[in-house]
């Protein structure tokens, strides 16, 4: 009970500060909309599909997963600012749950990611994308798990390195190959065999396949439950690891 109370205290505080600074909404939505408008039209011939709707069916889930990965991985910067301001140390002298210090923040990231995803989905609907509500909700669950995991990882790394200068290159180095090998922008079906073999080891490639299956309306595809399961396990591991770091010494 105390855990839930603590999580909601931290979450509410973080949400309040986020909403006070509406710039993120503009930035967070502007970029994906650019992708939808300027990049997606190139896809129709590239993917060899007949309609815009089909192109979006492949592209939109990839875009959403991309946002979940990157949005999460860069949350650590905010935490470093909080460390520097002494806010984290101030929390750590209270009896507040250390798991809540992490989860309150990660849930804020997840909620803002879902908000972003909803806006993008609505726009894509205007471009003839069609998706069943139930499938969409499952896809959002996938996104939430991804965002929970990547933001927890980012917070954990931030607590270890404690400086923006170290965090930025580190996160980029991790994110680039993950992105390229996940088939996010283009499906890996077009990749040569060896590349597909490598991509199979990238958990995000499973997540993307699962999300695409959901947008396709193929709820029964094994990609769906496999993707969800892999993301859930990784999210739990990441949260456990980062929460332990919150409990340990932080300066």
């Amino acid at each position: 009970m105390k855990l839930f109370r603590d999580i909601s205290l931290i979450f509410n505080r973080q949400m309040q500060l986020l909403l006070r600074n509406p710039v993120w909404i503009v930035v967070g939505v502007f970029q994906p909309v650019m992708y939808l408008l300027l990049f997606a039209p190139l896809l129709k011939p590239a993917l060899g599909v007949r309609t815009n709707a089909e192109a979006y069916e492949i592209f939109v889930p990839g875009l959403l997963v991309l946002l979940a990965i990157f949005g999460g991985l860069f949350q650590g910067f905010g935490l470093i600012a909080e460390l520097r301001a002494g806010v984290i140390e101030r929390s750590r002298v209270t009896p507040v749950s250390r798991v809540a210090l992490l989860l309150g923040r990660s849930l804020r990231d997840t909620v803002s990611l879902i908000a972003q995803a909803v806006i993008i989905t609505l726009l894509a609907l205007a471009f003839d994308l069609r998706v069943f509500l139930g499938n969409l909700l499952l896809a959002y669950l996938m996104l939430a798990l991804i965002s929970l995991m990547t933001s927890a990882v980012s917070y954990g790394v931030a607590l270890v390195v404690k400086s923006e200068d170290a965090l930025a290159p580190l996160m980029n180095t991790v994110a680039q190959p993950l992105l390229l090998l996940s088939g996010i922008l283009l499906p890996m079906t077009y990749a040569p065999g060896w590349l597909q073999g490598v991509a199979d080891w990238n958990p995000f490639s499973w997540a993307v396949n699962g999300t695409r299956a959901l947008f396709r309306g193929d709820l029964g595809a094994p990609d769906v439950w496999q993707g969800l399961l892999i993301m859930a396990v990784l999210a739990v591991l990441a949260v456990a690891w980062a929460a332990r770091l919150f409990a340990k010494s932080v300066r």
């Binding site: 603590d6 205290l9 505080r13 309040q16 500060l17 006070r20 600074n21 909080e82 301001a85 002494g86 806010v87 140390e89 101030r90 929390s91 750590r92 002298v93 209270t94 009896p95 507040v96 010494s249 932080v250």
Partner: protein, 314 residues
């Protein structure tokens, strides 16, 4: 209220490839009584913050034991957290929050209900004279106002002990004096206050007892007055007409004294007590008096004799 035995902490710091061990705190024994203002005086890098962070459960000691407000630091850090407040050297407020928001959150993290947190925050804002700025963002505060918010955050849950790490560093003289009043008020409310400083005058004027720390070790402990007396007691310098010096010396022969050309110097335990007696003795012997001055050794003299360095220089 606070008792520590043999507290130790070393850090491994990397400089390029080389690993270096810094022994930040090397065996600290402390006894802080309930309801006193206890001061930790020491130069930069002495290990004051490290000691405080250990006592506040933020870092684990390598060795040693501590009991704080009746709770064992090692066995029950959670209970220690509930009983203490801690104000970090570097501050703890977030630019985009207001003082009231910060206080309400902090009170709630300590377990208060929303209504309770609101009323406590209002009360604390009032007593720290912050009500006027309470709903402005912290980034708009002056250094002194912001520091008062930090202290308010540290005591919002009415702890029995509060640790203040250099609460007055960087403040102008007026804000410092204001802060001293706040600290005395906390003591008056029954709190035990553990404060670090590298200002001699602050340790002297504000603290009931102090420990002087250097290089991770405590080099002296006691009331500021005792510590200074330990050095040499007080020096009373009696200025006289040259012709009266020998008469004065014989009239004051009960004291440890040295004669100079136009004055005598007496080494006494407590100048304030000795001066009236000296005056009476000189008067009774009919010695004409020129001037009388009392010199007190400062805490810097204490630091100097214990470490061979002056605190002002380090």
């Amino acid at each position: 209220m606070i008792e520590t035995r043999g507290l130790r902490k070393s850090f491994i710091s990397r400089q390029g490839r080389e690993k270096k061990t810094v022994e930040a705190v090397r065996g600290v024994d402390l006894n802080v009584a309930e309801g006193e203002i206890f001061g930790f005086l020491g130069p930069n890098g002495a290990g004051k913050t490290t000691t405080l962070r250990m006592l506040a459960t933020l870092i684990e000691p390598d060795d040693g034991t501590a009991t704080i407000a009746g709770a064992d630091l090692r066995a029950d850090p959670g209970e220690v957290r509930r009983r203490i407040g801690y104000v970090a050297q570097g501050g703890s407020t977030w630019d985009d929050s207001t003082a009231r928001e910060e206080l309400v959150l902090q009170a709630r993290l300590y377990g208060a209900s929303k209504a309770e947190a609101l009323s406590r925050s209002a009360h604390v804002l009032e007593s720290f004279q912050l009500s006027e700025y309470a709903d402005r963002k912290c980034k708009t505060y002056s250094g002194g106002q912001r520091r008062r918010v930090d202290i308010a955050l540290g005591i919002i849950h009415e702890p029995r002990v509060v640790f203040l790490d250099e609460p007055t560093t960087g403040l102008d003289p007026q804000s410092r004096a204001h802060m001293w009043d706040e600290v005395r008020r906390l003591r008056a409310e029954g709190m035990t206050v553990f404060i670090t400083t590298h200002y001699l005058d602050e340790a002297d004027a504000l603290c009931d007892r102090i420990s002087i720390m250097d290089n991770g070790e405590i080099v002296a402990s006691g009331t500021p007055a005792d510590l200074k007396r330990e050095i040499s007691g007080d020096v009373v310098r009696v200025g006289l007409p040259v012709s009266a010096v020998s008469a004065a010396a014989s009239a004051l022969e009960a004291y440890k004294l040295e004669t100079y050309e136009d004055n005598v110097r007496l080494y006494v335990d407590d100048g304030a007590v000795a001066i009236p007696q000296i005056l009476r003795a000189l008067d009774a012997a009919g010695v004409p008096l020129g001037t009388i001055e009392l010199h007190r050794p400062s805490l810097d003299d204490v630091f100097l004799t214990k470490t061979g360095r002056s605190l002002r220089e380090s």
